[in-house]
Symmetry: C2
Subunit: 272 residues, 2 copies
Amino acid sequence: MEEAAGERTNLAGVRHILLVLSGKGGVGKSTISTQLALALRHSGRRVGIMDVDLCGPSIPRMFQVQDSDVHQCDSGWVPVYVDQDKSISLMSIGFLLEKPDDAVVWRGPKKNALIKQFVADVAWGDLDFLIVDTPPGTSDEHISTVEALRPHKLLGAILVTTPQAVSVGDVRRELTFCKKTGLRVLGIVENMSGFVCPHCSECTNIFSKGGGEELAKHAGVPFLGCVPLDPQLSQSSEEGRDFIQDFPKSPAFPALAHIAQQILDGTSQQSS
Amino acid sequence: MEEAAGERTNLAGVRHILLVLSGKGGVGKSTISTQLALALRHSGRRVGIMDVDLCGPSIPRMFQVQDSDVHQCDSGWVPVYVDQDKSISLMSIGFLLEKPDDAVVWRGPKKNALIKQFVADVAWGDLDFLIVDTPPGTSDEHISTVEALRPHKLLGAILVTTPQAVSVGDVRRELTFCKKTGLRVLGIVENMSGFVCPHCSECTNIFSKGGGEELAKHAGVPFLGCVPLDPQLSQSSEEGRDFIQDFPKSPAFPALAHIAQQILDGTSQQSS
């Protein structure tokens, strides 16, 4: 396959590419990627998700499509559609493993090669947004993804953090990564901000609160909002349900809808 | 420096080496590593921590020693002592960065070289336990660490998970990593199991419950225990306080003490 030609062809129909980053793992990057895709779909957009978390792919399970296979067409790999309307397409290493429990014990060069293939050889078709979910850190996957996507319509990165100081420290490092690689920061999302007890309705800031907003102010980047810790959201992610459709009364819903709206506003300003 | 000779000399006084692993990030590997070190110290053991999470080092901050520097002696780097008694020593890339916000934008080979140095060139002295805190995944850092430590007294790995299915799936991958690399699994710890509301004392399983125990049964490896989600524990980690000393009444305390005891029982059986 001619890679350079493939690269130009396969991402030509993609209008905006968004990276979801966080120095730290377990802060909800995949949950935010998934819910953001759903929120953008609810606004009538066609969305793709490229999962470059090669050692811990979790998006296929979140959409309950972990048993799907990737097929080949003339222009490359056909991504997996997560719904019947084919409004969300997904590419993940999870679809390429023989058994879902297989460990991807790969050093950098092998990971870099697969990421190049994800960028060049997936037949994404026409998309309003391609959301790229990344693993924790600032290493091979991140460098290779940014390098491979740079010639395309790379809008920028959303940084996800939890409110603790340790996690905020990792995002601070991710900010310097963005600066070093010339990647625009679209904003910071603070996830798991507070837990509202379903028994007594009192809110406890399990992981403390406000670190994300403070960091955004300090770094001079937009703060996109707090998403509260919500057992319905984590259950919904686990069961592959459409959270935004199922739980419009959850405290996490307006937060997620607001984040999606800001992305839409940003891109419509850009195109106008 | 002669690497092979250094390797033999610098880990010669270390009796047991433990890896703390998890496929997924943010499940509390660093918290469990830190608290386990403190619990073992309370039992009179000398403990070292080797932090090989090169892109997101969080242990220095958990002990409030992030501003310390590493010095050189004849036999290599002197680790940082986290207390006046010098009963816990720590080596982390955090001590080698000019600014703590610096992003370590390194590809695999550079990371592998530093891990080899951490194994060969740190003057650990006499230790009962060396705890190795790892980044999420099953990639360069993990392969290099296991390879470099294999000639030494590598006891095995503790796998940390949260109860959600997604996290449990990542640990399942980590189990196949252990099998592939011949690393003994000492047991599984389920972290953040339930949240006891401080207002009404009702317990909510924010991230569901029981996944870790089920996985341990299924895989035929020991289940070391559940550590409940405890705001005091996360605050204590953040402020670098000795949780086990400060909060003996916290629901997380007996869980952590029990895990440490099982490690001690396992090693005393081994030596008898």
